[in-house]
Symmetry: C2
Subunit: 412 residues, 2 copies
């Protein structure tokens, strides 16, 4: 949580944090600023001190709404700086950062964060590191990063945002289910009343529309993958594909607050009309592992234990997994879960590797998403909810929704 | 254009390009891959060679649709790499890049690109640079960057995408105009038939909805700023604000293709019902500068000339500008234009500084957006279109739309 930042900075031996980039679609900056219209800025925070937001002059009123201490970048006269740097933008940027550091007496180990264009910043930070003997620029590993660790546990406000997006998400999932089942079936695929075939592209357009209507953004798109595509976890589905009955459809939807805030992550696997036996069997294996692992989860235990548990349960049912068959493209091929927040994928991580020290801390918001994949057999099944590890250690599904595999077609 | 990349690499003395990050909302990667579902990958291109896309195993089918040469990252056994690196993710990433470089015989000066989390990559690239004596990692300045320079001129496909988003943009602008003027006026603000006051937040929700309906994303939000807010160029407008008649509203809308592709940038300034004389005067000054500079633009000339021309024209009309009053927050306070493409702001740049060597090259797509701002007087006016410098050197407005200041209210 934000209140942990100073302590985490101490543990990481960092004296200051430097966050760069816009306020939207940049979790590190949004974490401090909230959702405001800042296209480019810097945020400096010294250990034990309050953060200071450096903003463009045209964005001064937006910066003021953050409630943070602010500083107008035009005070540094960027045009004069660029002249002093002989028109070299990287040198000018280094000089700007040096002045900011001097003015705020920033020295020691400085962690850098932000989702930004890497090239110019890489070069400017290198020059800065070389120019200032009392400064060391530090790029932290994701699993040790102060801000990723802080963001791994959420306060109630943050959980509220994720839950709110969850309500929108499941409402849209219900819209999609209703839309699909209102169609008729002809030659094994969905058609409208005029006999026109429904496509994945049309379904996705409606998903975007319904999300926008309810106040969410969909910056990463969604997965609506059928048959063979469903068997490859990140295949998003092809716009021109028709929608068949009796084949597994993996529908994975991960919108965020309008403007680029907190995400929610959710998947259901559906068969329209009926499920072939082999899909039903795979589905029941996934649901059983979902429930067994969910019921086993206890706060403060290592996250990797649950990935290992999921692998062992799947293996007992005869499926290859990443634990017993590391490069497998069939069976259980991914991690059980990941943190969800201002980024769709954040801490904690659930990789089974020994070096993964992440724990299921109270305040975490995570996915829970076991799945099985057999692309050659045109089968993919994943069931995913977003869970909150409550401060009392109990788990809560943030947006509940039925897990039925088969959606009954009105027409069949 | 893409076909210029090898020549630009030669001019920049770069032997290879390394692009990182996802395919969406990451112009550098999208430029090569198009809009596919790749959450994380690398792209290596040697001078004179074809690019190779490195992708996660779960995204192999998406990667294949790009038509690029591909390589599955699981071939490098990332779990084994992490073990060899004693669980240090940054070291493991450096080792992965080193193996990729070795396998594809990458050496010399390597430019790095991508909109990504800067910290871990900064650290990994530094280690790589130190570990490999035959490799130099280069972060290019934005005005010299090979990929920004390549992207500055567009082929007809790219222009087609920007024009298509422009059609959606102006259609939604027309929707918004119709929506506003269909309201009634009570106590100087817009109300619906039941007498409820319309808010900026409600207008923005509809903008998002109508964009989604027509197939565009709105990742950066939009500006709908009234009175004082209109006088601060990047103030986005407050959700709770009511919509008055007779005050300038700056409506700046910059959506992109669904999934994160090409942008379009467009602004109109409206007064509902009537315009006070002083707003009308400011508006006419802006429109006059818009037209004079537009008519003066000639391909292959320096971009900064047009910013200086706009400043001098505004100064003659008695307005302060960034040329004669560098820190001014009143009058003409920004640049005339910027390139538009996979990023909403890209090359060429129009800053008046001498070090700006950008030219108005045939194939460029740029905004043209003179404006005047007097926040204390609650006045802001900006008129913006997106223009294409055609291969024959002639200018074309990519999405034409009336420039009227006053929108007649049906009710007044």
């Amino acid at each position: 949580m934000k209140t942990d930042i100073d302590q985490l900075m101490g543990e990481a031996d960092l004296d200051s944090l430097l966050v760069t980039g816009p306020a939207g679609h940049n979790p590190y900056m949004t974490y401090f600023t909230g959702l405001v219209h800042l296209t480019q800025g810097y945020l400096l925070k010294k250990r034990g001190g309050e953060p200071v937001l450096f903003h463009g002059s045209m964005e001064r009123d937006e910066a003021a709404t953050t409630g943070l201490a602010t500083k107008d970048l035009s005070d540094y006269d960027l045009i004069k700086l660029l002249k002093e740097a002989d028109g070299d933008h990287i040198r000018a940027r280094m000089m700007l950062l040096r002045r900011m550091f001097e003015e705020f007496d920033v020295r020691g180990r400085i962690g850098v964060y932000g989702k930004v264009e890497v090239g110019p910043l890489y070069a400017a930070l290198q020059q800065l590191d070389e120019a200032l003997s009392e400064v060391e620029i530090v790029g932290e590993a994701p699993d040790r990063s102060v801000l990723i660790r802080a963001r791994t546990t959420k306060d109630e406000d943050e959980v509220g945002h994720i839950q709110e997006v969850g309500k929108i998400t499941t409402a849209v999932v219900e819209d999609v289910a209703g839309y699909l089942t209102s169609h008729q079936v002809k030659d094994g695929v969905l058609v409208n009343r005029e006999g026109g075939a429904l496509t994945v592209g049309e379904v996705k357009r409606r998903i975007n529309l319904w999300l926008a209507m309810r106040g969410a953004d969909n910056p990463e798109g969604s997965i609506f993958a059928i048959g063979h595509d469903a068997g490859v976890p990140h295949s998003a589905g092809k716009d021109d594909d028709l929608i068949p009955v009796g084949k597994p459809i993996v529908f994975d939807i991960y919108p965020c607050q309008s403007g680029g805030g907190y995400f929610h992550d959710f998947t259901r696997t559906w068969c329209l009309g009926f499920a072939p036996d082999e899909v039903q069997e795979v589905y029941e294996d996934v649901l059983d592992v979902y429930e067994t692992v969910y019921n086993a989860m206890v706060a403060n235990t290592p996250c990797r234990d649950y990935q290992i548990m999921a692998c062992e349960l799947f293996e007992k049912k005869g499926h290859p997994t990443v634990l017993n068959t590391p490069q497998t493209k069939e069976g259980y091929v991914h991690s059980l879960a990941h943190g969800v927040g201002l980024a769709i994928h954040e801490g904690p991580t659930f990789s089974h590797v020994e070096s993964n020290k992440d724990r299921l801390l109270p305040g975490s918001v995570i996915t829970h998403e076991p799945g099985l994949y057999y692309p050659e057999r045109e089968i993919g099944v994943r069931i995913e909810d977003t869970l909150w590890v409550r401060p009392d250690g109990n788990l809560e599904v943030l947006a509940d929704y039925p897990k039925d595999l088969v959606l009954q077609m009105k027409d069949m």
